[in-house]
């Protein structure tokens, strides 16, 4: 051939092409190899997670209040169904389950590609066996024991136990898988991370079509921890039955035919109660009636039933979320302040036993000289009282005088002295109980008043400043004071136990495998007030006389108590609720806070019946049933009956 140089040029060119390829190969396999290896690993592993059984919730005695039961469910994992056979799988599955294929296809689409979801619950074992034997016809379809949440006690304790549901967008962003269930309320929510457990993971090696080629490894799920409550389910059941009785009592007394809705201010709407261990703040029982059975969030509920539940706001735990004027039950706080600070009416001998004549009204002048007349709840007055009898008979006038003494002290006492005592006892701030959505209530003072006035919130007068009258209202638990039943119970527990304000708790701890508490939720002291022993002795005695004394406002309600009534103390309260909008008066809020036994208090029982009327007439008999159960046992509980109309 002529011109071999041309062949040489071609040879160099061809070999040059090979050199280019080799350089590219070098760059892929040496320079960027790690990156490609990661990519290869990522697309060859399929992670399928298996749900962990949610932990149980048991009461203080180990009674199951929330648990899980395995139900054989048909679970579809779309990731495992090759696209080309999906339609035939749907067809077969529809026939097997006896549902229209169109519905099933819709369900597939709703869950999205790659989703894992349950298409049938609680199939029987014969069906389960059939599916297990025909896996080749049903790729990606498995029978799994899906944990189903159960609440064996039904409505009992529903509000603090709470319920579970689908995660919100925020939950999913925080790393919760959309197929998981999360606690939405109560202990289920507060202790969600303890209850969740660790889901198991199965890693499969897959090919490009998503066919499973083999198991890489398998990690079994770790069940969630068992939560032991401080709640005693027996007391809880009694509290709820007593509250239901109390609510019925109030309706019978005031408005037997009304429909209990929020919009009707004259209709007794709910009864709320807390039973607290006075020695460490443990919640023994806590309820608001009407309540709900958390099972409805598992099994579903008709829309009518749902709307009815919403109408009475059953999903709110009013023991920690309801805020009420504490009324005369709040006098115990002023009482303690008076004892400890030595504040007594101007005209009385300056001791707690100094006599003061309690008339039916109090006439006085404000600093600006304006004459004022405040009327006691008892129009003909209480006659001669001292601090102790003033509490027993719930004399408003005496405590107004205490407030006026502080108001007029010209600097001897801090203007907010009485409010500070309330705050020390836990009012106006969250107790920090281990439940979600707690309300903090309100202890009004000048600073709060000025702030509200400046904001024009409508909660306070537009003209004039914080006045002596406001302070007087505050002292008797009216005006703007707002407390939760739990706060009131907490404060009473502190007063009668010598001054220790315990943080309330519903959970004792997380149980270990041996059934013993492995991670305790120890009681926490919020505040330790060094109360004089004399103060503590006297308050116990005076509370006992409210129930047992001749002038006691709860005497009539406790007549049928039975043996040991002398160990019962308490305080009634009747809160006036003025609706500012239409000025129509609601039925009063009925209160009773009970303490037992007074010699060494173990329990504080706070009862509030919203629109229940008189505390002595309605709330005290309700509390009586609970106290009977606590002190005398189940047999000691007698039928509910109205007490005397009293503040």
């Amino acid at each position: 051939m002529k011109g071999p140089w041309r062949v040489a040029v071609l040879a160099v060119f061809f070999l040059g092409l090979l050199v280019v390829l080799t350089l590219r190969l070098w760059s892929l396999q040496l320079t960027e190899a790690a990156e490609y290896q990661d990519q290869a690993d990522r697309q060859q592993i399929l992670l399928v997670s298996t749900p962990a059984p949610r932990g149980d919730i048991v009461d203080v005695n180990g009674v199951l209040m929330a648990g899980t039961r395995p139900a054989l469910s048909v679970v579809v994992n779309r990731k495992l169904i090759p696209v080309e056979v999906e339609e035939s799988v749907i067809q077969r599955l529809a026939v097997f389950l006896g549902i229209p294929a169109a519905d099933l296809r819709q369900e597939f689409e709703d869950h999205g590609s790659g989703a894992r979801f349950t298409v049938a619950d609680e199939i029987d074992s014969a069906d389960a066996l059939f599916l297990a034997e025909h896996t080749e016809d049903f790729p990606g379809v498995a029978v799994e024991p899906v944990p189903v949440r159960i609440y064996p006690l039904g409505v009992t304790g529903g509000q603090f136990i709470g319920y579970i549901g689908r995660p919100t967008e925020a939950d999913i962003e925080a790393g919760v898988r959309s197929t998981d269930r999360v606690g939405k309320a109560g202990v289920e929510r507060e202790y969600d991370s303890e209850l969740q457990g660790e889901p198991g993971a199965v890693k499969y090696r897959i090919d490009a079509q998503g066919n499973i080629l083999g198991l890489v490894n398998e990690q079994s799920p770790q069940p969630g921890g068992t939560i032991q409550l401080t709640i005693d389910s027996a007391v809880q059941a009694q509290l709820e039955s007593a509250l239901a009785d109390g609510l019925q009592l109030a309706r019978n007394a005031y408005n037997p035919t009304c429909r209990p809705v929020q919009e009707d201010p004259k209709c007794p709407i709910r009864a709320v109660g807390v039973v607290l261990d006075a020695k460490d703040g443990s919640v023994v029982a806590m309820a608001s009636v009407p309540g709900y059975d958390p099972t409805i969030f598992v099994d579903g509920v008709s829309s009518d039933e749902w709307n009815e539940l919403l109408e009475t706001a059953v999903f709110n735990n009013f023991a920690i979320q309801g805020i009420y004027a504490p009324a005369s039950t709040f006098k115990a706080i002023a009482y303690v302040a008076a004892m400890e600070e030595g504040i007594f009416p101007e005209t009385a001998v300056q001791t707690d036993t100094g006599q003061y004549f309690c008339e039916g009204l109090l006439e006085f002048r404000f600093q600006d000289g304006s004459p004022q007349v405040y009327r006691d709840w008892k129009a003909d007055g209480h006659g001669p009282v001292d601090l102790h009898t003033a509490l027993q008979s719930s004399c408003d006038v005496y405590f107004w005088e205490v407030a006026l003494k502080v108001w007029r002290s010209s600097g001897q006492y801090d203007e907010a002295l009485l409010q500070d005592w309330a705050r020390k006892l836990g009012f106006g701030v969250d107790t920090g109980i281990d439940l979600p959505f707690e309300q903090s209530g309100l202890i009004p003072d000048r600073a709060w008043f000025d702030e509200q006035q400046a904001e024009g919130s409508g909660r306070v007068r537009a003209e004039g400043g914080w006045s002596g009258g406001d302070l007087m209202n505050t002292v008797i638990g009216q005006g703007d004071v707002l407390v939760t039943p739990l706060q009131l119970a907490t404060a009473y527990a502190a007063i009668v136990n010598g001054g220790t304000v315990w943080q309330p708790r519903v959970v004792a701890g997380v149980l270990g495998a041996d059934g013993e508490i492995a991670i305790p939720n120890d009681p926490v002291i919020l505040n330790d007030i060094p109360l004089a022993q004399r103060t503590v002795d006297f308050i116990r005695q005076d509370l006992q006389l409210v129930v047992n004394g001749p002038a006691g406002t709860a005497r009539a309600a406790f007549e049928s108590f039975g043996p040991g009534v002398e160990q019962i103390g308490g305080k009634t309260g009747t809160g006036e609720v003025i609706k500012s909008a239409d000025a129509s008066k609601e039925v009063d809020t009925a209160w009773f806070v009970g303490v037992a036994p007074v010699s060494d208090p173990e329990y504080v029982v706070a009862i509030v019946i919203e629109r229940g009327g008189s505390g002595g007439r309605i709330a005290a008999p309700t509390a009586r049933q609970v106290l009977q159960f606590l002190m005398l046992g189940e047999e000691g509980v007698t039928d509910i009956a109205e007490g005397a109309e009293a503040d």
Partner: protein, 387 residues
């Protein structure tokens, strides 16, 4: 007398004359053996997963290799002079088969009409042997017309020889094969001594031709998709780039030493499409790493080197041109195929010579290599023949 003299060629002399090119032979055999192994690793896991025997495809490839090797050996012994005489017939038969494939006898697969069914389990892809026919035709033409330079008339004839089958192949459509013809033609014309002006004309003509193809929307949609997907490297996995991306991942994850035979998760798990055929090089890259990939490219370099050497030492210009044509055929196939698996070039569907699973391609390549090898074997003049 010459004939009698021929019979009297001594044993030693004869052996000298028929000594094969060991380099070429070994490269061919090693690549073919490697191809069998790679085809096996790329198909067995999937077949086994489907409940079939894992070696079904590999066994077929073994048969192809045996047939191909026989074809290689036989064609190595073919006297190029006789072949030259038969070239016009071969060319015409090849054209006829290309026309045949476009008739209803042709089999449509994946949108392309490229195969002729011959019996139940054998299909012929006429565009493959057409490559050999075109090389032979060009070699015959150039050997006749070239005297170190080339007349314009000869260039035109050469173009004519190539355009006829190219147009038929374009109708199938098979863009890759059409480009092969163009590349071979340019390389052979260059070797034949085209002037710079002629080369310039060829370059301009091919550019104009390519533009015209696009302009008249003569390209099928899938061809355009492949080309545009290649140009838009940022496009996502769902696009046509998926194949190449997976191929790149497979090769890249192989690293220097590779993952080991049968440990190629990418190829074994069929993430890479057409892993036994067009993308066979990914199986090499992933399982045998840079070492294996470089070995394959090195063996191809040896083959090209030997073929170019053959072109220089061949006894006659016909054999010379065959060697150049076959070298350019292999070089183009390797460059386009391997470049495609590494995202250097768009997907065109050219198999990797001697490695890709497929009978027609293997036998065609063996035949082409054998014919070029024949030029090496017969490089010494026959007794009495002038050099």
């Amino acid at each position: 007398m010459a004939v009698t003299a021929g019979h009297r060629v001594g044993r030693l002399e004869r052996r000298e004359r028929l000594r094969p090119d060991i380099f070429l032979l070994v490269s061919f055999l090693v690549l073919s053996a490697l191809g069998i192994l790679m085809v096996y690793t790329a198909t067995a896991p999937r077949l086994i997963a489907q409940g079939e025997a894992g070696d079904v495809v590999m066994r077929k490839q073994v048969v192809f290799v045996i047939i191909g090797t026989v074809v290689f050996l036989v064609s190595s012994l073919v006297d190029t002079r006789k072949l030259r005489a038969a070239t016009p017939l071969i060319y015409l038969v090849s054209l006829a088969s290309l026309i045949l494939v476009l008739t209803p006898l042709g089999d449509v697969r994946a949108g392309a009409q490229r195969w002729i069914e011959l019996g139940a389990s054998f299909q012929l892809q006429p565009s493959e042997p057409a490559k050999v026919a075109v090389i032979l035709a060009l070699a015959a033409l150039l050997a006749r017309d070239s005297d170190g330079t080339l007349h314009w008339r000869s260039v035109a004839r050469a173009i004519g020889l190539v355009v006829l089958p190219a147009v038929l192949i374009f109708r199938q459509p098979d863009l890759g094969t059409m480009l092969v013809f163009g590349f071979i033609a340019v390389a052979m014309l260059f070797a034949a001594g085209t002037s710079f002006r002629q080369m310039g004309f060829l370059v301009v003509a091919s550019i104009v031709g390519t533009v015209a193809l696009f302009q008249f929307k003569a390209l099928k949609v899938y061809q355009l998709t492949r080309l545009t997907a290649f140009l838009d490297q940022s496009s996502s996995l769902e696009n046509a780039n998926y194949n190449q991306f997976q191929s790149e991942v497979a090769i890249g994850s192989g690293g220097f030493l590779g993952k080991g035979v049968f440990n190629g998760t990418q190829t074994n798990l069929s993430f890479v499409p057409a892993q036994a055929t067009d993308f066979i090089f990914t199986a090499v890259g992933e399982q045998l790493g840079f070492i294996g990939g470089a070995l394959v490219l090195g063996l191809f370099a040896v083959i090209i080197w030997r073929l170019m050497l053959t072109a220089v030492v061949a006894h006659d210009t016909f054999g010379s041109f065959i060697a150049v044509g076959v070298a350019s055929l292999i070089a183009f196939h390797v460059f386009v195929n391997v470049g495609m698996t590494m995202s250097l070039l768009p997907v065109t569907g050219l198999p990797l010579p001697f490695l890709s699973n497929g009978g027609t391609a293997f036998v065609t390549m063996s035949l082409a290599l054998g014919l070029a090898h024949s030029a090496w074997i017969h490089r010494a003049p026959l007794p009495g023949e002038r050099r």
